[in-house]
Symmetry: C2
Subunit: 457 residues, 2 copies
């Protein structure tokens, strides 16, 4: 009987295992999955909301328990860490983290789903008590415990990307004074700086102090060895607790050591079927791979649960004897800080320049509902379109309720390769409680189409 | 100097006038617009929310006053009704409703934007005091006055389409006991009956009595001549006030008399530039035209402010010497009854059958946010896909907050001619406050893709 071995038991790995199991029963395919933590299939993206108190229980974040996977015929070995992949001999070495023993396990099909690891700069004090990451459920529990124990109310978040701003909200909700220390020109470097500025202003209004352009130089500790501040070239920010939200990088140490192909961001390179390039029997998915950006034509690293789930589903279908592909991403992401909604898809100005595209940009102000309808909330939509062709290149939205998911319209239009002129005619849902008579995305498309005509003439 | 004459001063007509004016100044083009009411450019779609009290003032519904149009160099003549169009002689006859005089006005370019008229079945009692339409601002004011005067608290709404269900909400908010009498099998005949049933159940839960399959036979009046009930073959429903929300039909009496081409629904037929077919200098847009359905390939009548605005914009560009087209609709519509959100796009089962398409349907239950996130609200998504090709044919959604505008993803996918298999890979915005890791539309697409494979194999 064939054996499928899965390295990493979170979204991509367990989706692959479950998908393969649906197509091939326990009599046809043995499935062994190794996971170093005690958990499988949990929502790391939900951790900030658990910390902030929106989600009461850690276990709510667990989509399926290890036992549930085992009942479905998957030999899931939690607290087992894979320490070596031997591609040639088709086997992996794993260590039982409880017993301390090591074993080799052979495979016919291998799925690498080792995820990402948080960026942890080598800084003095980075490992001091009171400095927390928020990557795993254990990290989350440790932070929650620390927040409960700390008498002080000063929290510093390092990084102002998705995790940084979500953690700023969470700490604010827990009653902390929050300072976000951010290396970039503005928060949310996944937006252009003009749109990031809107986020900065909104965070100000929420009472979150945001320090931009600040390189952290160290994390000074007190006499008790605990963190007491975050230092930058410009000054020191007192801290009773520090949360690192600097971002993640692909965890491909094992894959690299095994000689598997890695891209410029350190992620595994796969084909459309999520097979590792040049390796017939090895698949990879989730935060440890690079994905194809359909707009720029380049590979990127995007750590996002929704992609991990899609990868897992594709791998499961292919390993199970079916057929599925993951064509790539357009770079859609949504987030919020309290009632501020932030969304982006496609290319920023600098992304477009980097691949040699010339473009127009337009920015419009509109509202989530008809202006006369209660709770019509303002939103700003920025749109990029290519010169001459008028092809949509990207959209960024900052607003309040009803803003973020509007980016999906642009995500589909990018996937379809639509021009902004074509977008002006889109038949989007209209009724006063849901949209002005011209949806904000249509307003932006009209202005972008006019700008393309003016600039291309 | 050329003269542009506009018949009808609401969304399509005044958008056309304004658009042409932006391109050609008062020294190049004279613009005369005739409007029979005292108002121009108002949001008829907002009337139910004004009646219900969400919108406090009638004037909030007026996007631009007659004076504002005049200041922009448009000779807008309110309280003037066009009574004849003489296409051959290039002139229209209008009556000044105040002075009672009639005048002929010549045109070089004519825009017909006469809108729609409410369906008003010939029933005994239909013109009795207490029976109200909700098509115009004057209708709205009359109904509001009547609601204030009426001591009784029993309201009957005839019709359970968009206007009917929105008026049911409005009357409920005004403290009335509301009965909706509906000829169709379920409310919202723009949905398939299985999805309409969900609307029926939700209306029940809101305390709105919905009587389906009920043909109104008359509107009995009391001794004072006022309405006292609505009669059907099955019984009588006592009423202190009756609201007609049966739908509308194109108002093309003048156009028909002038020999202009009308379609099977009685709407004017235009080309892509919104020019009336066969007439170089006559344009038409808004609720008085039929539109091309990009999914079925047929003409339809869809009375919706968002289309009217687009038509007006296209006409304005073309009359102004620019170039724009309206390629057609995919049939997107969104609505709500209290917190119930209703959306549809593309073809229903019966529409698909009518044009000879064979298809699969799937229905899935999902939520607006990650299941563990507060206020994750259930939604039901139904999807139709063509057999063999797997092309998306339609989507219907019934749910709570966050449900309706998800239909926009399907609207763009329909426009782009995507297959449901392609849709499974769409890069839609994901974060726990905004979506489960698989967006409900993606869940439906996955199930539909599987159904297409199973049925086409």
């Amino acid at each position: 009987m064939e054996r499928m071995v899965v390295v990493g038991g979170d979204a991509a790995g367990m989706s692959a295992a479950s998908g393969a199991r649906r197509l091939r029963g326990p009599g046809e395919l043995e499935i062994v999955a190794f996971e170093r933590s005690p958990f499988a299939s949990y929502s790391a993206c939900g951790i900030p909301y658990w910390i902030g108190g929106d989600v009461a229980e850690r276990d709510s974040l667990i989509a399926r328990t290890p036992e549930e996977h085992r009942e479905r015929g998957i030999d899931l070995r939690t607290r087992h860490e894979v320490t070596e992949i031997d591609v040639g001999a088709q086997r992996v070495r794993s260590r039982d983290l409880v017993a301390g023993t090591e074993t080799w396990t052979g495979f016919d099909k291998l799925v690498i789903a080792t995820g990402a690891r948080p960026v942890r700069p080598r800084l003095p004090g980075i490992d001091a008590p009171g400095v927390h990451g928020v990557q795993t459920l254990d990290d989350g529990q440790a932070l929650l415990d620390a927040l409960g124990r700390t008498a002080g109310r000063r929290a510093v978040v390092v990084g102002a990307g998705y995790i940084g701003v979500e953690m700023a909200e969470a700490l604010l909700k827990r009653g902390f004074d929050v300072t976000v220390v951010n290396r970039g020109e503005q928060p949310m470097a996944t937006l252009d700086p003009d749109m990031g500025l809107l986020v900065h202003e909104a965070m100000d209004a929420l009472g979150i102090t945001t320090v931009d352009g600040a390189d952290v130089t160290g994390i000074p500790t007190g006499g008790d060895g605990r963190v007491r501040a975050v230092s930058t070239a410009e000054g020191e920010y007192p801290a009773d607790v520090v949360v690192l939200g600097i971002g993640v990088e692909p965890e491909t140490t094992l894959a690299g050591a095994a000689g598997l192909p890695l891209g410029v961001y350190g992620g595994l390179l796969t084909d459309r079927a999520m097979r590792v390039r040049g390796h017939e029997n090895v698949w990879a998915g989730g935060d440890c791979v690079e994905v194809h950006d359909l707009v720029s034509g380049r590979e990127r690293h995007v750590a996002l649960g929704t992609h991990a789930n899609k990868h897992g589903q594709v791998i499961g279908a292919n390993v199970g004897g079916g057929y599925a592909t993951f064509p790539g991403v357009v770079g859609t992401a949504v987030s919020k800080v309290c009632d501020l909604e932030i969304a982006r898809t496609g290319l920023r100005e600098k992304d477009a320049r980097e691949v040699g595209l010339r473009f127009v940009t337009v920015t419009v102000e509109s509202t989530s509902r008809a202006g006369y309808y209660p709770d019509a909330a303002p939103m700003t939509v920025k749109m990029l379109a290519e010169l001459r062709t008028g092809r949509l290149l990207g959209v960024q939205i900052v607003g309040r309720e009803g803003a973020a998911k509007r980016v999906d319209v642009a995500a589909v239009a990018l996937t379809a390769g639509m021009t902004v002129e074509q977008m002006t005619a889109l038949d989007l849902g209209y009724a006063p409680p849901f949209s002005p008579v011209w949806d904000p995305v249509l307003v932006a498309a009209r202005k972008a189409a006019a700008a393309v005509r003016a600039a291309s003439g």
